[in-house]
């Protein structure tokens, strides 16, 4: 019985779509275009996030050592440092390694180092932090803990650079939240209004159905399903269309831009976000249909 009813509702939704294909196309198109804007915003947001997280990996603490420790001492230091919950990795950079890095950085002028001994630069410990602590307060917390051990007296972390990095990331996040909020609001508004218009065009048939004994749910269900189908199609089109445009026009330009900033790879939307967009389309289709249906399907006027 329930199955037969559901089948009837789906048939009704399909019939509605077939009977007013233009209205349906308008609704699907609006959902697709609106969600595509959200998708592009997502592409930019996730790539910037990738960029800031790449920058964040460079947030580290350095402890310069008077002389390179033997294995036993190094293991003990590692244990002490890794006891901090913020620490992700501890890496020993020997004097020779430090000199090699310096040589690379000097490039063509590396011959300036000719004749200098391998012990020119001190050995150091590079302490990498876990993702949530890659900011000035995270670094300060680790430095504070390690300062209790006198062997780690010579610590360096780019304090001012870190503060600027923190401000930039906060600014980017705030901009994303504000822009994303506006975009989401505009999207919901546009989709809800388009669906309202499609139902407004059918208000007579909705009224007639109430007059011949249709219950509220019986009348509304095919239209709610229709809204869900329109939203689903719009969501799929938005993701598909955004991918196509991303691959055709955006990918190469973004790669060039991000490579200059140190990130070699450009990403499309994560799969979770893609499914989220499709689901959002469907939900907007359903919830966009409810208020106009409540308005037009009234037993008593």
């Amino acid at each position: 019985m329930i199955l037969a009813k559901m089948l009837y509702f789906f048939k009704g939704a399909w019939r509605n779509i077939c009977q007013c294909p233009l209205l349906c196309l308008a609704a699907v198109g609006t959902v697709a275009v609106s969600l595509m804007m959200v998708a592009f915003f997502g592409v930019i947001f996730f790539n910037f996030e990738q960029l800031t997280s790449h920058w964040g990996q460079q947030v580290q603490l350095k402890i310069f050592l008077e002389k390179a420790p033997n294995d036993t001492l190094l293991a003990e230091w590692r244990r002490k440092i890794e006891a901090c919950p913020e620490v992700e990795s501890v890496n020993l950079v020997s004097s020779a390694e430090a000199l090699e890095r310096f040589r690379k950085r000097l490039g063509k002028k590396a011959d300036l180092l000719e004749g200098l001994g391998a012990e020119l630069l001190p050995a150091s410990l590079e302490i990498g932090l876990k993702a949530p602590y890659r900011n000035s307060s995270g670094v300060a917390a680790v430095a504070e803990t390690l300062r209790q051990h006198k062997e780690f007296s010579d610590m360096r972390h780019g304090g001012e650079w870190l503060n600027r990095f923190d401000s930039l990331v906060s600014l980017l996040k705030l901009t994303a939240v504000i822009l994303g909020g506006f975009l989401l609001f505009a999207t919901i508004f546009m989709i809800a209004n388009t669906i309202k218009l499609t139902l407004y065009a059918r208000r007579d048939e909705l009224e007639i159905m109430t007059l011949v004994g249709g219950t509220s749910l019986f009348i509304k269900m095919p239209y709610i399903i229709e809204g869900a189908v329109q939203g689903l199609l719009g969501g799929l089109l938005a993701v598909g269309g955004a991918y196509l445009i991303f691959k055709t026009f955006l990918h190469d330009n973004l790669v060039t831009l991000l490579m200059t900033m140190g990130v070699g790879e450009v990403m499309f939307l994560p799969s979770g976000f893609q499914w989220g967009l499709v689901s959002a389309g469907m939900l907007l289709g359903v919830f966009g249909s409810l208020p106009p249906l409540r308005k037009f399907v009234r037993m008593r006027v």
Binding site: E207, T210, L211, V212, G213, T215, S216, M299, R300, V301
Partner: protein, 238 residues
Amino acid sequence: MIRICNLAKYYETGAPALTNINLNVSKGEFVYITGPSGAGKSTLLRLLFCGTSPTRGQILVNGRNITRMGASQIPYLRRQLGVVFQDFKLIKTRTLMENVAFPLEVQGIRRQEVAKRVFRALQMVKLEKYLKKYPLEISGGEQQRVAIARALVTDPLVLLADEPTGNLDDQTTLEIMELFKSANARGTTVIMATHNLELIRRHPRRVVVLKGGKIVEDHDTPLSMTASAGQAERSLDS
């Protein structure tokens, strides 16, 4: 079948649409509600199918007080009523068959049974050939016949008709009246709002005359054609 006590309906502006209406309609009766435009005929019918709420008074349909009926119960009342409007109120995007089938589908009746009854109803109004046509592909008279088929397909206890022949020519009006009379002969109570006195003269039945929202005459017993229509006419003219 229908009992109306002290019924009043005021518009939001406070103007009266109906005041102090008392009316009893027995099972199987055929009643004309007549009166000039703005007399309250359509409002009375709307109150009978719960299209609007009264300001005061009670309406009992088949022993059930419908004046304070909850919105969720109204569809079940409407399934016992057939309603026919002057503007037909057919769904233009659906075929005649789908239009007539809808009142049966909402009741969850099986598909084969629906098809059978829809065909029978359209056969009754002589439109069985047009099953797959859309309302705008047929004439106004035919559309009204489809609306009557839709109203009668559920075998309702009461048929309410609001100026059903208002937009139709004489020949079509006659055909529509025959359909109402045969439904009435099968036991359906018919309440028809009309200001067409010629119609009342030709098909004499009980006449309730409304004027300014009040019942000014009720020819309770079937009067002679001339007397009934004549009195109604005088009421309308005065």
